[in-house]
Symmetry: C2
Amino acid sequence: MVEGLAKSHPELIERIPDTRVLARIDKRPGKVGLVSGGGSGHEPAHAGYVGQGMLSAAVCGDVFTSPTPDQIYEGIKAADQGKGVLLIVKNYTGDVMNFDMAKELAEGDDIEVDQVIVDDDIAVQDSTFTTGRRGVAGTVLVHKIVGAAAEAGASLSELKALGEKVISSIKTIGVALSPCTVPEVGHPGFELGADEIELGIGIHGEPGFSREKIMSSHDLAKQLLDRIDKEHQFASGDKVVVLVNGMGATPLMEQYIFSNDVHEWLGEKGVNIQKTIVGDYMTSLEMAGLSLTVLKLKDEKWLELLNFPVQTIAWK
Amino acid sequence: MVEGLAKSHPELIERIPDTRVLARIDKRPGKVGLVSGGGSGHEPAHAGYVGQGMLSAAVCGDVFTSPTPDQIYEGIKAADQGKGVLLIVKNYTGDVMNFDMAKELAEGDDIEVDQVIVDDDIAVQDSTFTTGRRGVAGTVLVHKIVGAAAEAGASLSELKALGEKVISSIKTIGVALSPCTVPEVGHPGFELGADEIELGIGIHGEPGFSREKIMSSHDLAKQLLDRIDKEHQFASGDKVVVLVNGMGATPLMEQYIFSNDVHEWLGEKGVNIQKTIVGDYMTSLEMAGLSLTVLKLKDEKWLELLNFPVQTIAWK
């Protein structure tokens, strides 16, 4: 897959030889580097977001397995342009540990490294692979906002502060209609009847918090937004960005039907949707399902940064 | 779905009231209009390609069912800017007939209308819904190339000639690992064992020409390219564009693995891949599978047109 990405998009990215690191080809001296990554199986995350205006490099682990510290260290070196490197890490125990070890390796080379940890998933606390909340689809919004700010010249400390403020404003929850199968395991992570839906699933086949009978898109939107509302406490006039994210096997048609229901629910609350993003941005192999992310715009600049031009494979 | 598309992307498209037509919002007087569409269930085709540099309007039928002539007529009226309208039609009996009737309706209003028929699928001749070859994923390349030329100011007759030349240079073939289910039908279009692969499938659940045991991506790439080679008769130094298109439920990871194998096969033949496009561009609901499209670049300008800037939902 890594080789396929590099061969398919030589206009944007290159593979660092003998690694699983994909780095942008147009280096910009004096710009803070941004590195993300994690287990594979979430494509287009993260390599699809490497390029002008987003990530400097992505590190690809095995399927649903954190990349090793030495690989992440190669990613940091590829991203470093003399102004430091920010790591954007999803909150899983393995990722947090390995990115932290890579940070130490790079600091030994006098590369200044800092990090932000994304934990946008409100479904569960302390799940199979996490202490605290998991990092899921909202991570892509962090890549975009922080990536645009980095391109515009922000410093490492400014990017870290921005990233942390944005992360605290992102809430996500996901559902599955069918599970996914890790190739090396050979059987699905959980079983689900044809008439069942699992609420609160993660992006690694982790089961959710509740299994229910299948429901309409309208009712599903209401359930998920009720939960997000508990976090964001929506008020009339709030400005938000919505990301409807397909998990890999959900037709885009269904994602737009769902997006319509999300718009209706938020519209009734008087919430002002400033931007809507729909599609497969952070997948879980061939899982059928979707996640809903709502970013509360606490700063007008975030919307500008979301609309800042990019040159990547997957962000349009 | 139509409403969801319109609500999610007001910065790009609008729904023509009381229709299933989605039209670009930035009208450009004096530009030839481009209209496409067909049955729904192929998203992001076709509404995802409406916007600056591609289509003027897309007409959405029921799932896998041609839109009616009156709806297409509304699309033509929305696209008309006084310089005529080109229809880009996939070669299915229902679409060809309905777009033709809409053309006559529009001509009654003195709107000059012409059309091109896309028939890129080399898998079968005269299938369930077609006389001749079917129009499949290669249609998206026609939208992009002709759309860029229209934006750059080409006339209706120039666009028709360009479209026909491009269409004759596009060859596509598709495979499925699992079928799809039309919601109103309620059961899959064909049955496929877990260890089987169907070669030559269409984008409406039509069965293909051969069912085989599952094979590696490498072997599959060879089989499909051998068939495309019979059409294109590749020679060393040929310049091509490759589109690896997911059918809806195929992880992007697998699409990139396949793209790598396509690059290797074409590289061994000395064929020069000038651009590679990978992702879900013309889907078939939740079908698992992919199609491979190879456009032979008979004119250097086509690559420029493919890289011409666009503002659409789905073309990056």
